[in-house]
C-alpha cells in the first residue's frame, strides 16, 4: 500500500471557526492513528481577514508542511481565490456552490498586490475574475470539484429534524466543511462524533447540534459524491501519542521544571503560553500540598522583566515569555540580570520584524539581536528549539543552565512553532532533571553573594533567607554586592562573570549544544523551527539516492565553535537555511568558525518553510544550478 501523505486546507474569515474546524479534523485524523502536522496562518486582525489552516496527515513521521494541497474546503470566496492554485492536479476542492458567481471585486479583503497577480493569471488563461473562473482553471489542471450548497444543506437538515433554528446557521459552516471532507475521504464517522464530544465536553447542548450537523453533512458527502482518489480509513494507532499546540512544549515544560513565577505583557505569538500557564495555575505536587504558578500580566515588557528578576532573587524559578518587540524593551534589565548573576529564562517566540513587522507571521530574524542583546559585556545563554517536542525538554535544560551558571537564558522559539498543531510522542517529565546549581538552603557565617571562586560561580542566597543578606546593584560591585569602581576589582569581576561562558561550553553536553543528523559532502547548518522541513526534505532526497547532511545548532551563545567545527571538518559544501533575510546564523558561524557559507536558503515572507521548497533548492544546489542565495516564497 502506498504511504499516506494528504494535506487538507480549510480557510475562511477570521472569527468564522476555521481554527476549531481544523482542530476537529486534526483530532479525528490523529485518533485514527495518523501523524499530523498542522499550521495556522492569520492576519493581525480580530474578525474578517483571511485565515487558513493546513493539516498534513501521514502514516509516517512528518515534521513539516508541503506545497501541494490534496483537499481544500471552503465556505468563503476568498479562500478559493487565494488557494485554488495550491491544490494538486489529483486533488479536490470542496466548496460552497452559492459562491460560484462571486467576482474578485466583491471580496474586499483581497489586497491589491494579490488581486493584481490573480487577475494576471486568470486573464492569461482567458478566465473571468470570478470563483467559477478560478475553479475552471483548477479543473483544467485535473482537480476534482465538489460543489455543495451549504445553505440548502442546512435547510434540508432543519426540515428533516424539524428545527427551524438550524436554517441559516452560518456559524455551522466550519463543521459542515469538516464533515463533508471526512465523508469524502471515507474517514469513519464515529471518530468525528467522538471528537466533537471531546471538544465541546463542557457544552453538551452545543455538542449535540454540532453532531447533528456533522452527521448529516458527512452522510451527504458520502452519498452524493463518488469516492475521492484519496481515502483515510484509519491505521493502527501509535502508543503514547499526544496532539499538541505550539506553546504546550514550553508551558508544560515550565510547570515540570518548577517555574513558579511568570510575568508577561500580551504579545503575539507569545501570550498563549502565559494564558495557558494561568489557566493551569494550580499544580499537583507528588507527596506534597498543591503548588502554583503565579502569572502576572504587567503594564509592559520592562515591568515583566523587572518582576521576573525580583521573583528570581527570592530563589523562585522565574520566567517571562515575549516576542521581538517586547524583548527589545527587556534588554536593559537583561544586562542587570547579567551583572547580578540572576538566573532567569526568557522564552522568545519570534515573529517577523523589524518593528511591528508582520505581527502574526513567522520569522527567525532575532538571532543576532538576541545573541548581542544588552549594552556592555555580560554572559548569557541563547538556546533554540527545533520543534514542539524538543521545546518541552529544552525548557528543562534552560532552567538548569540558568541556575547552574547563574545567568540569564533566552530560549528561542518562533511563530512557526507556536501556531503548529502536531502529533508527537507523549512528553516524559521524568527526563527533565532539576539542577539548581549553587543555590543555598542556609548560610553559616559571613556571606558574600559575589565571592570569588575557582569556577567563577558563587554560592547563591535568596531574598528573605536567614543570614543570607546580600546586595545587588546594576553598578559594578564588590563581593558583597556594594558599588565598587576600583579598577582591579573591575577586572576580577568582569573575568569572573565572563568565564562562565567557557565553563558552560565545557560542561554542557555536546549533544545539547548541537545535533548532527548526518554529515555529507553537502551539509546544512540551521537552527530553530527550520529543522522540521529540513529533515523532511533530506529524507525526500535520500529516497532519490542523494545524501545531504544536517547540523542543528541549538546552543547559539556561547557558540559551540569547537564542536561544530569538528562536525563539519569533512564537509565540502555548507548550506545555511533559516527564515530571515541576512542569513544570521551564517554570520554567527563565520564570526566564530572563520569559514564561508557556500549557499543560503532563506525565507522572509513571514510564512514558514515547506519541505517541498527546501527540497527543490537543495536539489538545485546538488545539481550546481542554484543561486548563492535561494529565496523561498511559497504560501499565501
Amino acid at each position: 500500500m502506498d504511504s499516506v501523505d494528504f494535506t487538507w486546507l480549510i480557510g475562511g474569515p477570521q472569527g468564522s471557526g476555521v481554527e476549531s474546524g481544523a482542530n476537529i479534523f486534526s483530532k479525528v485524523c490523529a485518533e485514527m492513528g495518523y501523524q499530523i502536522f498542522g499550521k495556522r496562518e492569520f492576519y493581525s486582525n480580530i474578525k474578517g481577514e483571511h485565515s487558513y489552516f493546513t493539516v498534513r496527515v501521514s502514516d509516517e513521521n512528518i515534521h513539516s508542511n508541503v506545497n501541494d494541497v490534496t483537499l481544500m474546503v471552503s465556505f468563503d470566496a476568498e479562500t478559493i481565490f487565494r488557494h485554488f492554485d495550491e491544490v494538486s492536479s489529483n486533488g479536490g476542492i470542496l466548496y460552497d456552490s452559492e459562491l460560484e458567481g462571486v467576482d474578485t471585486g466583491k471580496v474586499h479583503t483581497l489586497d491589491t498586490p494579490f488581486k493584481d497577480r490573480l487577475h494576471k493569471l486568470l486573464e492569461s488563461k482567458n478566465k473571468p475574475f470570478t470563483i467559477s473562473g478560478a475553479l475552471e482553471l483548477a479543473k483544467e489542471k485535473g482537480v476534482k470539484l465538489y460543489p455543495v450548497s451549504f445553505k440548502n444543506l442546512l435547510e434540508s437538515l432543519s426540515e428533516d429534524v424539524d428545527n427551524p433554528k438550524l436554517r441559516g446557521l452560518v456559524r455551522m459552516y466550519n463543521v459542515i466543511g469538516v464533515s463533508l471532507s471526512l465523508g469524502l475521504i471515507q474517514m469513519p464517522s464515529d471518530s468525528l462524533l467522538h471528537s466533537i464530544d471531546t471538544i465541546f465536553s463542557k457544552k453538551p447542548q452545543i455538542a449535540e447540534i454540532n453532531k447533528q450537523v456533522a452527521n448529516y453533512s458527512y452522510n451527504y458527502a458520502s452519498a452524493k459524491f463518488e469516492h475521492f482518489k484519496h481515502s483515510l480509513m484509519g491505521i493502527v494507532k501509535q502508543p503514547d501519542t499526544i496532539l499538541v499546540q505550539g506553546h504546550f512544549g514550553t508551558s508544560i515544560g515550565k510547570m515540570v521544571s518548577g517555574c513558579r513565577f511568570q510575568s508577561y505583557y500580551p504579545i503575539t505569538p507569545a501570550s498563549d503560553e502565559s494564558v495557558y500557564l494561568e489557566s493551569n495555575e494550580l499544580l499537583q505536587i507528588q507527596n506534597d500540598r498543591p503548588g502554583s504558578t503565579i502569572v502576572v500580566q504587567t503594564e509592559d515588557e520592562i515591568s515583566a522583566m523587572g518582576m521576573m528578576i525580583g521573583a528570581a532573587l527570592t530563589g523562585t524559578r522565574s520566567s517571562t515569555s515575549t516576542s521581538g518587540p517586547g524583548f527589545a524593551l527587556m534588554t536593559e534589565a537583561l544586562g542587570w540580570a547579567g551583572i547580578n548573576e540572576v538566573p532567569v529564562v526568557i522564552t522568545l517566540y519570534q515573529r517577523s520584524g523589524p518593528s511591528t513587522g508582520l505581527p502574526t507571521r513567522h520569522g527567525q530574524d532575532d538571532l543576532l539581536f538576541t545573541v548581542f542583546a544588552g549594552h556592555g559585556d555580560f554572559p548569557k545563554i541563547v538556546y533554540a528549539s527545533g520543534d514542539i517536542e524538543e521545546s518541552f525538554y529544552d525548557t528543562g535544560r534552560c532552567f538548569n543552565y540558568a541556575d547552574v551558571y547563574q545567568i540569564p537564558v533566552i530560549h528561542m522559539m518562533d511563530k512557526f512553532l507556536s501556531s503548529s498543531v502536531v502529533t508527537c510522542k507523549k512528553f516524559d517529565p521524568s527526563l527533565i532533571s532539576i539542577d539548581r546549581g549553587k543555590l543555598l538552603d542556609k548560610v553559616d557565617g559571613k556571606y558574600k553573594r559575589f565571592a570569588f571562586t575557582d569556577d567563577g560561580i558563587s554560592p547563591r542566597s535568596r531574598l528573605g533567607m536567614d543570614n543570607g543578606i546580600f546586595w545587588n546593584t546594576g553598578d559594578e560591585s564588590d563581593e558583597y554586592g556594594h558599588i565598587s569602581e576600583d579598577p582591579q576589582n573591575r577586572i576580577k569581576m568582569m573575568d569572573k562573570r565572563m568565564s562562565k561562558l567557557d565553563l558552560a561550553l565545557d560542561k554542557i553536553p555536546l549533544d545539547e549544544q548541537a545535533v548532527s543528523f548526518g554529515i555529507h559532502e553537502h551539509t546544512i547548518i540551521s537552527w530553530g523551527s527550520a529543522k522540521g522541513p529540513i529533515i523532511d526534505a533530506i529524507s525526500m532526497l535520500k529516497k532519490e539516492g542523494i545524501d545531504i547532511g544536517f547540523v542543528q545548532i541549538k546552543l547559539l551563545h556561547p557558540f559551540p565553535t569547537r564542536y561544530v567545527k569538528s562536525l563539519l571538518k569533512d564537509t565540502k559544501t555548507l548550506i545555511d537555511i533559516e527564515s530571515n533575510h541576512s542569513g544570521q546564523l551564517g554570520k554567527l558561524f563565520k564570526q566564530n568558525i572563520s569559514r564561508d557559507i557556500d549557499y543560503y536558503i532563506l525565507k522572509y515572507t513571514g510564512r514558514g518553510m515547506t519541505s517541498t521548497e527546501i527540497y527543490d533548492s537543495l536539489k538545485k544546489i546538488v545539481e550546481n544550478k542554484a543561486e548563492k542565495r535561494e529565496i523561498l516564497s511559497h504560501g499565501a
Binding site: D240, I242, I252, M255, V256, S257, G258, R260, F261, N280, L282, Q284, Q286, N287, D288, R289, P290, G291, S292, T293, I294, V296, E299, D300, I302, S303, M305, G306, M307, I309, G310, A311, L313, T314, G315, T316, R317, A333, T423, K426, P429, I432, S433, I434, D435, R436, R462, L463, G464, M465, D466, N467, I469, F470, W471, N472, G474, D475, G481, H482
Partner: protein, 320 residues
C-alpha cells in the same frame, strides 16, 4: 536579642552631598525598621537609580539597587514570590514619576502589600540638576539654562488616582515624623506611598531647607513661619472606615484637593488610607487558596534532582 538602630546601618561610605535631605530619609527608614523590630534578613530595600538609589547600600537588610524607573517592578516581583518579606521601594521623583510613571500607575492598580518612598527634590541631582517631574512650570533652579517648560506632576494626586491605598507626605528634616509615617506605611495592608520632600542643597536653590522653614516669610512677618504643617494637627480625617462608595469618594476627593495645597502652606502626614481594598496577595489567594502559606519562594520543586510536579492529568488529556 533586640535589634538596635545601629544594626540597620552598613559601613558603606555615604557619598551624598553634605546637607543632603536624603540623610534624613535613610535615618528615618532605619529608625522605623528598628522600632518595628523587623528582622534584617526578612526585609528587602529595593531602590531605583540616582542619589536615592544608593539608599539600599546603606541599610543592613537585603538591598536591591535596580534600574532607572523600574524599582517598583523588581519590588513587586520579589514581594509576590516571597510575600513573607517586608518590602520597601525607594527612588527619586524623576525615577518614579518621570521614566517610571507607567509603573507607578500600574502598581497602584495592583495594591501589592509594600511601601514606596519617593525622594522628592525637583531635580535630577546625579546628572547635574536638570528639571525633574515635580519642579513647577516656569521655575528655574540654578543649573537650568532657562525656566522649566513642563507642568509639574502632583505625586499625591497621582497616587490617589492610581489606586494606592495609603498616601502620605513627609519632610526629610522632620525625621521623627517621617519615621512615624514610614511605620504607618509599612504596617498598612496594601500599597503605601510616601512622598518625601527632600531639599537638594546642590542643585535646587528654590525649595531649600530655609524655604521649607519659611525663613523668607519670617523676614516679612518677623516671626518664624514654617511652610510645612501636619494634617494630623488639623481636623483632617484621611481613613476610609466603611466600604461605602460615597465615603470612599469623599475621602479621595478630599485627598486630591489637599494635594493641591502648595506655596505658603504645605501639608504633610497621611492624605488617604483605605484598607478595605483587597491587596494583590488576597486577590491571588482567592484563586490559589494556599498562596500565602506556600508562595513561589517556598515551594519545593524537586526531589533527588527530579521534578515533583505532576502533569499527568494534562498529558493524559492530550493523549490520542
Amino acid at each position: 536579642m533586640a535589634l538596635k538602630l545601629a544594626d540597620y546601618k552598613t559601613d558603606v561610605h555615604n557619598d551624598w552631598c553634605p546637607g543632603c535631605g536624603d540623610f534624613g530619609i535613610v535615618n528615618a527608614l532605619q529608625m522605623a525598621l528598628a522600632e518595628m523590630g523587623i528582622e534584617r534578613d526578612k526585609a528587602t530595600i529595593f531602590s531605583g537609580i540616582g542619589c536615592s538609589g544608593k539608599t539600599s547600600h546603606f541599610i543592613n537588610t537585603y538591598g536591591v539597587h535596580t534600574l532607572h524607573g523600574r524599582v517598583l517592578t523588581f519590588a513587586q516581583g520579589g514581594k509576590l514570590a516571597n510575600p513573607d518579606m517586608t518590602v520597601v521601594a525607594v527612588g527619586g521623583d524623576g525615577d518614579g514619576l518621570g521614566i517610571g510613571a507607567g509603573h507607578f500607575v500600574a502598581a497602584g492598580r495592583r495594591n501589592v502589600d509594600m511601601t514606596y518612598i519617593i525622594f522628592d527634590n525637583g531635580v535630577y541631582g546625579l546628572t547635574k540638576g536638570q528639571a525633574s517631574p515635580t519642579l513647577k512650570l516656569g521655575e528655574k533652579t540654578k543649573s537650568l539654562p532657562s525656566p522649566n517648560t513642563n507642568y509639574n506632576v502632583n505625586p499625591i494626586g497621582l497616587a490617589v488616582a492610581s489606586g494606592f491605598t495609603f498616601v502620605a507626605r513627609g519632610y526629610s528634616y522632620d525625621v521623627r515624623h517621617l519615621k512615624d509615617l514610614i511605620v504607618k506605611a509599612v504596617n498598612h495592608k496594601g500599597l503605601s506611598f510616601l512622598d518625601v520632600l527632600q531639599p537638594c542643597p546642590t542643585y535646587n536653590d528654590l525649595n531649600t531647607r530655609d524655604w521649607y522653614a519659611g525663613v523668607d516669610l519670617a523676614q516679612e512677618s518677623m516671626d518664624r513661619h514654617s511652610r510645612i504643617y501636619k494634617l494630623e494637627d488639623t481636623h483632617y480625617e484621611p481613613v476610609v472606615h466603611y466600604n461605602d462608595e460615597s465615603e470612599v469618594n469623599e475621602k479621595l476627593s478630599q485627598a486630591l484637593i489637599k494635594s493641591l495645597e502648595w506655596g505658603n502652606k504645605i501639608p504633610t502626614g497621611v492624605f488617604y488610607q483605605n484598607e478595605l481594598i483587597s491587596t494583590y496577595e488576597i486577590r491571588l489567594k482567592d484563586k490559589i487558596p494556599n498562596y500565602l502559606e506556600n508562595p513561589p519562594a517556598r515551594q519545593r520543586i524537586s526531589e533527588n534532582g527530579l521534578s515533583t510536579t505532576d502533569v499527568s492529568e494534562i498529558l493524559d488529556s492530550l493523549e490520542i
